[in-house]
Symmetry: C2
Subunit: 350 residues, 2 copies
């Protein structure tokens, strides 16, 4: 009777990328308010008529898609949900201020379980001086859906969009790439082993770094502060939630440019390399870095004139440069061949 | 392995009311920012250091809990999700400005289905001059979860909390009560009939009002404007999303007072009365009004001095008055007996 499956001319969701889908759905919406400075299409909305802008972003995590209760401690989940939402504020070069949490949850969860979740939410709020200003809890027939609205602010002149990169700008990334996804691979491997033999005690100690990167990522406000202290305003910025390739393509699309990044410049932790070597299909660490996702590092571009400021900045790596409009987004290998970066579709894991 | 079911000392979610649950979960959170004027515990958070305050509220709707795809047209669903979120801004005496939409959706839904949903979202945005400033779409293994963040503003002196009611204040409510729930009862009845006999064509024409109330509620910004034009700032306000009894109890709890409302003053539409008379267990229209929910009317209190302004205000009914601290919240029947209003627990339908 609900007929959702039987429409004529039906287009499946996975035939469009998430970006294209949102573009299609939000097409034809008009702007009614002066206080709407920037709406759909960046890490956060930019609002307000004064010189200090309000930044608002929403992040949703779905059980079975974004997290698996078999190996996700609830406290970590709460922390991560907040961290992921705040990361959008960092990606606008902003300071985080408040969050609102909305949970849909089945009665499989007890009050104590939600208290664990909120302990993680509180920890992340404390860590980043953020206030919880609203929380509602709804029933759900199955599993948990966790939506965090993050609110922050930035001076208008410091707000950094995806669209400001120009030719010759340097491409920078914080931290390292692919480690969160490597942590996920380890957890998925241990889950399979555990299912086959529930007495098995996994030894996870040697994977501590990649596991922490997956289970408890941090928004990089330390980078936002470093940039401010050097007086650098990036020309474009985005957070690495879906993998480097996808984020580079967003910057290139929004900024109408191409890019070149150098494979040997991509920062990859040795644990990531080791995890890849242990996986069955000879996984390349660089694939993890390009497509892994979940790192919540900052990817940004700066003008050439800021090179001196950037080259010794702690935890920041210059990985390439922006090329002219019409050029593709590519990675240059150590053998000097170029590989075209490709977009991800609407994926189960993102 | 996830052990959610097997905790010792487990407290079930449904043993606490939603209000008590949120209080317990958000206990111990500190405030870090001057721009956090009011956080958890009202219809919206109140933010900002200037005289114009930013209001932010989140509303989540879960398939199978808040809506049933068997009788909810997607366009109506989109409209309702936005209307319900905006209603929180109205309940703070504010003006709506922006929304952000976050959807978790299974591949049972097509791109065209989401376009229908967004057509409803757009219609509500147009109707209330609101800008869509963000939208993300996530996978979900089952069904749909729809979260709308509503952003609005109000001058500091006009922001109306749940906590400002004092003894002798008049209790007012807009529109009528119980009609949305009556619409739901009709749809549930037709669903049962349809399942028994799929060739059956329901005749819904004579229920048009209550069906529209359920499927396409409106946030009462017309009331907010009327109040402003008369120079009336309510002493307390809340929107009727869970039923009159529950909302009155919120106001009494937050304002530290009791209340008396008069049964014969409760505004009930004749279609609501008719639907109740058709239901099997001799349902009382007043029960619908007290406990039905989903009307999105405004319940507010005004000082006695505003009586002249209120008594002829269009679509507003004076239904009782606030009593002193320590008094119960009661309804007085036409026979002059008093019935104590009781809170709802954590319910499947809210």
């Amino acid at each position: 009777m609900d007929n959702l499956e039987y429409q004529e001319g039906r287009t499946e969701l996975d035939t469009l990328g998430e970006f294209a889908l949102i573009e299609r759905l939000t097409d034809g919406f008009e702007r009614h308010n002066d206080s709407t400075v920037f709406g759909v299409g960046d890490d956060a909305a930019v609002l307000g008529t004064g010189s200090t802008k309000t930044l608002v972003a929403v992040n949703t995590m779905v059980e079975g898609i974004h997290f698996d209760m078999m190996y996700t401690p609830l406290k970590h989940l709460g922390y991560k949900a907040v961290a992921a939402a705040l990361s959008n504020i960092a990606a606008m070069n902003g300071v985080p201020r408040q969050i609102i949490v909305s949970i849909a949850v089945s009665n499989r969860y007890s009050v104590e379980a939600l208290e664990e979740l909120y302990a993680g939410i509180r920890l992340c709020c404390q860590r980043y001086d953020v206030d919880l200003v609203g929380g509602d809890t709804n029933s759900s027939r199955i599993g948990m859906v966790l939506t965090v609205t993050a609110i922050g602010e930035a001076e208008e002149k410091n707000v950094t969009y995806r669209s400001g990169a120009s030719m010759h700008d340097l491409i920078c990334v914080s931290g390292d790439l692919g480690s969160a996804y490597s942590g996920l691979l380890i957890l998925e491997r241990e889950k399979v082993t555990y299912k086959a033999n529930p007495d098995f005690q996994p030894d996870l100690a040697s994977y501590d770094y990649v596991l922490e990167r997956f289970l408890k990522p941090e928004p990089r406000f330390d980078i936002v502060r470093q940039l401010a202290s050097k007086g650098v305003v990036p020309t474009a910025m985005i957070d690495v939630s879906d993998g480097l390739a996808s984020e580079l393509l967003h910057i290139c699309q929004c900024s109408k440019c191409g890019c070149e990044v150098y494979e040997e410049r991509l920062p990859i932790d040795y644990q990531t390399t080791r995890v890849c070597s242990e996986m069955s299909h000879n996984m390349l660490p660089v694939s993890n870095a390009l497509n892994g996702g979940g790192d919540y590092e900052l990817l940004f571009t700066v003008a050439q004139k800021d090179y001196e400021n950037m080259k010794d900045m702690e935890n920041v790596h210059i990985i390439g440069h922006i090329t002219e409009e019409g050029s593709p987004a590519v990675m240059v290998t150590p053998q000097n061949s170029t590989i075209r970066l490709v977009a991800q579709g609407f994926r189960e894991k993102d």
